[in-house]
Symmetry: C2
Subunit: 162 residues, 2 copies
DNA sequence: ATATTACGGATATTGGATATCCCTATTTGG
DNA sequence: CCAAATAGGGATATCCAATATCCGTAATAT
């Protein structure tokens, strides 16, 4: 059970977009170059973000993406779910229904304890991701990333942002 | 990102084995019949449990599986990790290394904040699963499952347990 | 007008999950 | 001792989602 690599891509892109000045846009091409990713395929991940309403887009030269909300209101969970979907990791096949000891046509009323436990774990995972916003991430990155790279990247991005 | 169905199978099998009287064994064949699963493939899941040391096995007629520890000491996490593996759900491809603004040969010292956040969420998921033992599951199931089915299944299992 | 962009459909390619088959060593029960 | 039953493991086939590429369309800035 491994998340798609698009999740990492989308998280990185949102991290970059978080530090983009108000009102400016960054294109798929720039984001792909910056991260060394296939442009056409990264585009699909960005479209997922767009479809989820997390980013706004503009067409034409100097077009691209910007965050739809301030980074304080964008969480890791938003991005992960936009790309990976909102479904549970544990999908119950209801195999208890195959129990030969069950009376024919018997129908359980409640989801069983096994599934509930797995879903609670899913919820704990989601809760952890919901707690971290991109504002906090930006703060952490600014402390941890080498100032030289930080400034260089910022300049690189600004030069390409429409 | 969806868990393999083998996870559900293994959880169900351990639930059954939890209520098996001390010293007796239940075969793959019986477990497959009880849950309506392909015997040969279920066998792979049970082998994972065996390889992880969660169950003991015996060969020959009347052979099969029993829990290696009391249900109080067997957690959901044990079973899930035995089948699904212990790796993180978020695999970092280190795409920050592709940043064209980085000096050549530059090497980050610490895993980045994005990966750490994702791994923390993984840990929250694991913690939730580690909290639930099969002793607690048995207690819940006994309360929730219809007494008729519960008794019938118990009898069905005992008849086939070696 | 032209170049650039997001978007979406179509289409490979790949790898892991699913599933089956068969052989071997071991143990039980007769 | 013998025959049946069992776990274990290797080989193989199938299926499907993730990965990746390509191209056409509409919109937009210069
Ligand atoms: S017991 Fe729970 S996990 Fe298993 S089939 Fe039923 S609902 Fe699904
Ligand atoms: S920034 Fe973090 S998640 Fe992204 S490539 Fe680097 S270590 Fe991996």
């Amino acid at each position: 059970m491994i998340l798609k690599s698009q999740v990492e891509w989308a998280l990185h892109c949102c991290a970059i977009l978080s530090s983009l000045p108000e009102g400016r846009f960054l294109s798929t091409k720039a984001l792909a170059e910056l991260h060394g990713l296939p442009k056409e395929y990264l585009s699909k991940a960005l479209q997922s973000l767009s479809h989820a309403g997390l980013v706004h887009t503009t067409l034409g030269p100097s077009g691209g993406y910007r965050l739809a909300r301030p980074p304080e209101q964008l969480t890791f969970l938003d991005v992960v779910e936009a790309v990976e979907g909102e479904g549970p990791t544990f999908v119950c096949q209801n195999i208890r229904a195959n129990n030969p000891c069950r009376p024919q046509g018997y129908c359980e009323s409640t989801p069983c304890a096994i599934a509930r436990t797995m879903w609670q774990a899913d919820e704990a995972w989601r809760t952890a991701l919901r707690k971290v916003t991109f504002a906090e991430l930006a703060k952490t990155l600014e402390q941890e990333v080498s100032p030289q790279i930080w400034a260089g990247t910022f300049e690189w991005v600004l030069k390409r942002a429409g």
